[in-house]
């Protein structure tokens, strides 16, 4: 497992450099717009917009594709479920699988739902890939007035992710050394998974307790108002980013409505 440091990192590209909260707000607005409708046109346009912006985030298309690969699985699941449980099968029948008819209507819906998945996932990938967790915590505390103890507590715990990942692997090896493996038996595999989860939790809680002691020893719970060593500014460029996101999202919906393809989620 790569460290969170490689998954979430600082970047100097124009959009990546913006205040983390601004990036988050912009992405969220955009996501709401995409989620609001079920047709395939809106997410297709949205994906187009995102793909154009990718270079401005300093992320390569290859990396984006790699990180987006899991979404393919989700899309497969969505489509397979639709095959069996479609609410309506309008349009001409293209082919049948057993008793289930795949019509043009079903294909249209499948396209809409799967593109929607990608349209929601891609902005998140871009933003998370170009945001440093410490910067995000700082921005949440300074710009949004989030409670500092929780933001920093979460940040400190986040640092342990690669350690816990390494420990998970080690737990698997340790069990094998004890003579415990699942082979092909899924029930045994589940039981081993649960056992390893338990061991991971014990280790994690122990570490967490020690970390809390160390943080208290350094005055974390002193009640004094905290200052900050790293300043996160929310400037005009950041405001512009959020504003631009609002405008683009509105335009996206307006376009879909104008094209007549708007299919509201909450009808």
């Amino acid at each position: 497992m790569s460290s969170v440091a490689t998954l979430m990192r600082r970047s100097d590209a124009p959009l990546a450099r913006r205040n983390p909260v601004a990036k988050l707000a912009a992405g969220l607005v955009f996501t709401f717009a995409v989620l609001a409708t079920l047709d395939p046109v809106t997410p297709a346009l949205a994906i187009g917009i995102v793909l154009v912006l990718v270079p401005l985030f300093g992320v390569g298309y290859g990396e984006l594709a790699r990180r987006a690969a899991p979404v393919l699985l989700g899309a497969t699941g969505v489509i397979v479920s639709l095959l069996f449980f479609a609410a309506e099968r309008t349009g001409t029948v293209l082919f049948t699988v057993g008793p289930f008819a795949v019509t043009t209507g079903v294909v249209y819906t499948a396209l809409g739902l799967s593109l929607r998945l990608f349209a929601v996932a891609l902005p998140a990938i871009l933003i998370f890939a170009t945001t440093d967790p410490t910067d995000l915590a700082d921005a949440l505390i300074q710009n949004v007035k989030a409670p500092p103890r929780f933001a920093i507590g979460a940040l400190a715990a986040l640092r342990l992710v690669p350690l816990l990942g390494a420990q998970w692997r080690l737990l698997g090896l340790a069990r094998r050394a004890r003579g415990v493996d699942a082979g092909a038996n899924p029930v045994a595999a589940l039981r081993n998974f649960a056992s390893a989860t338990f061991a991971l939790l014990v280790g994690a809680i122990r570490r967490g307790t020690r970390l809390a002691t160390a943080m208290d020893a350094r005055g974390f719970d002193s009640g004094l108002p905290r200052t900050w060593a790293r300043r996160q500014r929310f400037g005009l460029a950041d405001l512009a980013l959020v504003a631009a996101a609002v405008v683009v999202s509105a335009a996206l919906i307006a376009t879909t409505v104008a094209l007549g393809t708007f299919d509201p989620l909450l009808a």
């Binding site: 969170v4 998954l7 992405g27 996501t31 989620l35 079920l38 899991p70 979404v71 699985l73 989700g74 497969t76 699941g77 397979v80 479920s81 639709l82 095959l83 069996f84 449980f85 479609a86 609410a87 309506e88 819906t109 739902l113 998945l117 929601v120 996932a121 902005p123 998140a124 990938i125 998370f128 967790p133 103890r149 929780f150 507590g153 979460a154 400190a156 715990a157 986040l158 992710v161 816990l164 998970w168 998974f193 338990f198 991971l200 939790l201 014990v202 994690a204 809680i205 570490r207 967490g208 307790t209 809390a212 002691t213 943080m215 208290d216 974390f220 719970d221 299919d263 989620l265 909450l266």
Partner: protein, 195 residues
Amino acid sequence: MAQTSRRWRTVDIVVASVVGVAFGVVFWAWTLLWSGPADAIPLPGRAFMYGMWLVPAVLGGLIIRKPGAATYTETVAAVVAIALGSVWGWSIFFQGVIEGLGAELGFAIFAYRRFSMGVALLAGTLAGLAAAIFDIVAWYPASAYDTATMRLPYVAITAVSSLVIAGLGGYALTKALAQTGVLDRFPSGRERVPV
């Protein structure tokens, strides 16, 4: 048992965060292991294992026993899941908050004074309902999927899965963790026989 203060200590914040983070890692490991085969099972059958995603909420609530614990722990788990690469992007963040709030409701109904198995089951079920309703509103709308054969069974199966895995499982997990002594700084850990 003395009423614990409502204020979160450092150890409450950090351990809740660490439990959330640990589950983020567990979810990643689970996806690695079962991704291929599990995705082939069509919904709503796949919902049998849904309860697993809700364990952090119930566990957080049972261990920390303060208002907000369930919500916070589930949210942290969701954030880690997004960072490690999730299928659903950051809709998971909202879903995590809502799921956490569902469990939170279960604990709040008992004014954060009782943390018995019954409360855990309730919290688990409510979290599951919250999760399933979010899913069928956002991802499986009525216009696309059939309500009678898919959406309703999905909610029902998810609720039962959460009752068992998150509610009962979360309760058993808390008791087992207390036995190891790692929860000694928490009220949930004080209930065991002194070593």
